[in-house]
């Protein structure tokens, strides 16, 4: 029998729920409805004083017609997939090393987790200094040959820089989950495979990856979503490249925010957000539908 607390008064329960309701209202429902209305209306040129003009799908047509928008979508896809692959791969290698209990693995496990605790803008700032072409640690490569590394000049370098920042931060997060996953694989399985003659790489491919599949799938969804729309991506881009040079790192999240709050094009930004949300839904659907099927849950 579960005991139920019965409130005699009608107002008391509402009062208790109020803080949470207010939070949800102000930070979710209100912005969400604003985005919806903005996406389908035209913001008056000089602020929100006048009546909004309902324009139907015009904002979307405009966005889709913009060549720069499509460039941004491509950049986002490149960024999301590369950053996810890089951070998951490195995290996996590190987790395998820690799981093998090589010398000092306890200490390294501790350090590997740290990056995740650092806020993305801080990561961005740190990497901006490390990768500054003229004065950072990386500057030495430019003494070998000028402009070997210059993210302020070359779009590809800038993209590499943001990808490295994102991957670096997310390695820690992926690492925690992968280490936990690897440790839940019975040791005797690993021993059996080593009796069967497989070395560490073979074992990782034949045993650990398949057995870790549920964890890897979860991380894949999370990493892709986060790199596609996450605040981390925005923070890193904002503090390292500001979308540049020449829009080479102007990924969708960054474009939306800068268009809304610097370009003050609320309508365009709102419709882009809706498109982004739609894209994420499609992505997640695809992942669950087609990737998850190949995943073994024990």
């Amino acid at each position: 029998m579960n005991k139920r607390a019965v409130f005699k008064s009608r107002w008391l329960p509402i009062l208790f729920a109020l803080p949470q309701l207010l939070l949800i209202f102000f930070f979710f429902y209100w912005p969400a409805t604003s985005v919806l209305t903005w996406a389908f209306s035209l913001e008056p040129a000089f602020g929100g004083a006048g009546d909004r003009l309902f324009v139907g799908w015009d904002n979307f047509r405009e966005v889709f017609a913009d060549r720069e928008y499509w460039q941004s979508v491509t950049l986002s896809l490149v960024f999301a997939f590369t950053a996810t692959a890089l951070s998951m791969f490195i995290a996996f290698v590190l987790a395998i090393c820690v799981d093998r209990q090589l010398k000092g693995s306890g200490l390294f496990r501790f350090f590997y987790i740290w990056p995740y605790a650092i806020a993305a803008p801080a990561v961005g700032l740190a990497f901006r200094f490390i990768f500054a072409p003229e004065s950072g640690l990386i500057a030495i490569v430019n003494t070998w040959s000028p402009d070997l590394w210059n993210p302020a000049k070359f779009g590809s370098h800038a993209m590499i820089l943001v990808i490295i920042c994102f991957a670096w931060k997310w390695i820690g997060y992926n690492f925690i989950f992968m280490t936990a996953g690897l440790q839940s694989i019975p040791r005797s399985l690993i021993e059996a495979s080593s009796m069967d003659g497989s070395g560490p790489v073979r074992r990782a491919i034949d045993l650990q990856i398949p057995l870790l599949a549920p964890t890897l799938f979860f991380l894949l969804v999370l990493n892709l979503t986060e790199s596609f729309v996450g605040p981390d991506t925005y923070g890193i881009v904002d503090l390292t490249t500001e979308g540049g040079p020449n829009g080479a790192t102007n990924v969708m999240v960054y474009r939306i925010v800068s268009e809304a709050f610097q370009g003050l094009n609320y309508s365009g930004a709102a419709s882009q957000s809706l498109i982004l949300i739609g894209l994420i839904m499609v992505f997640t659907f695809i992942q669950f539908r087609f990737v998850e099927r190949r995943v073994h849950y024990k």
Partner: protein, 373 residues
Amino acid sequence: MAEINIRNVRKSYGRTQILHGVDLDFKSGEFVVILGPSGCGKSTLLRMIAGLEEISSGEISIDGTIVNNLEPRDRGCSMVFQNYALYPHMNVAANIGYALKVAGVPRAERDRRITETARIVGLEEMLDRKPAQLSGGQRQRVAMGRAIIREPKVFLFDEPLSNLDAKLRVQMRVEIRRLHKRLSATSVFVTHDQVEAMTLADKLIVMNKGHVEQVGTPLEIYHRPRTRFVGTFIGSPAMNFFDSTIAPSGNFVLLDGIQIAIDSALGRDNADSTVSVGIRPEHCRLVKAGTANSVPATVDFVEELGSGRNVHVDIDGTIFAVSGDEGQLFETGATVGLQLPSEHIHLFSRDTGLRLDDAPVLKHNTNQSTVAA
């Protein structure tokens, strides 16, 4: 087929020493069973042979090659684990054939050997199933198949039957023995079950607390336990023990007034000393109270086994187990006489626990190894 030689092998984790210098030799094709209570170091020893556990000091050689620094895969051993350690995401065929796949054996050859192995372990019908869809006994067979297919020089079994129910265990025991006959690879089998040990072993090794207590054939160990521990550990119900003093004449063990003749030389050598006397329940006899050469005892309780019974009798607070008396019925609380035939008496030193008349056994066994200090 390979010989295994273990020379002064020690194992310690930090300061705790698990194995205190073990010396053993296994002949080619022998079925060796290592028996001992949990925590005696038997599994550790097995895992050291396999290469899953580092050797702290000493040497293990297989077929004359010192394997201390060889990877498990280079030692030519295969192992059956206690929990089978099957790969849960692979079907039976893939589980059995994994070693060959890793070794790069071509597909056709691999399939042929998988089918053959599956036939040997009786799994032809199950090749497509995943381990989760198999019963305990079938999983056990997969684990055996996986060990056989590599045609190893040495088979290692780490308590492989302990997760099976009693009936299946007996059946698998017979199959393992049959398999050994067929493949005749050197086999090392670790168990804490004395029945498994007695029935499977060519050579039985009893271990306790990181020491080898005795090495011998099952019958040697049953009839002439070298230490008190071995006496207690082998046999069910356990051997009865009581402390006693050898009479000044050197000929008798005294128990509550009655004297039992013992080997005269042995008695003379140990005259006046206190010894630990052991006798197996199956060698004790219950007779009518007052019979000559019997000790009066009270029946404490009776365990019926169907094929016989274990009668526990009380002599001045010491409980004796007596088993297998033909058809005799004993009421709880009845007074009976207990006879302890002298030819079945085992004498152990009270201090060291060593058998007093061990010398002939040792001579007899010189080619087999014995305990290290």
